[in-house]
Amino acid sequence: MSGAAPPHAVASDPGVREAVAQAKAWYWQRISAMVLAACVVLHLCIMIWAVRGGLSAAEILGRTQGNVLFAAFYAVFVLACAVHVPIGLAAIAREWWRWSPAAAQWFARAVTATLLVLGLRAVWGVYAPGA
């Protein structure tokens, strides 16, 4: 198309970059939501089943220690949370707390890192035999 700005000029436009970032965030939010929908249904079933008669560490760890399926499921759950939660929080930071897009994005990265570290540590904590 004649007269159109070259791609590199468009991509360097802060407004365009922000729009592209938001479109990507929208897409990742939906993809992770689809994974989470399945995870949450299963998690709700497990919780309703597990809390009957009260919770004990021995009971929980008896189910989870050395259980690869359990660990894999919850690792996927944590990964999907680490994608989904920061995008939602960044939207709240921009729209309700009036943060700049850049500040909201850094906040989102920090939340991703925190959830990944704490979440995978928790999965390892209940999986690792004899931990």
Binding site: I48, A58, I60, V85, A122, A131
Partner: protein
């Protein structure tokens, strides 16, 4: 603020949006604490057991029920959004808001019964 905002805010879809956002925010605040508690298993079963006895308190059980209900609300609200955006729905599916809330209350009650039983 646009002048018609107060009218938009009276719409069931706005309340569905608000509920989805607030439930998401509260769940996001809870999640790191949840992970930290489970991570206590790394210090041995006794450490995790110590915290679990704290969850026997009635107020903590009430909070657990609240969190499960919030999770169910966020799940059903999110499913409605996915159906609107990726499904064949051509409107805001307000009836799905009612179905979602009803389903969440039912899930909350099932959890409460299991918790107290």
């Amino acid at each position: 603020m646009r002048r018609n905002d107060h009218r938009a805010h009276g719409h069931p879809s706005w309340w569905a949006f608000w509920l989805h956002r607030v439930s998401g925010l509260l769940l996001a605040l809870f999640l790191p604490l949840h992970f930290l508690v489970l991570g206590q298993a790394l210090s041995g079963p006794a450490s995790l057991e110590g915290f679990l006895r704290f969850t026997d308190a009635p107020l903590v059980k009430l909070a657990e029920w609240g969190l499960v209900t919030l999770l169910a609300l966020h799940l059903t609200g999110g499913t409605r959004l996915l159906l609107i955006e990726f499904g064949r729905a051509s409107d805001l599916r307000k009836n799905w808001i009612a179905v979602g809330i009803g389903l969440s209350v039912a899930i909350g009650l099932a959890f409460a019964l299991a918790l107290l039983g």
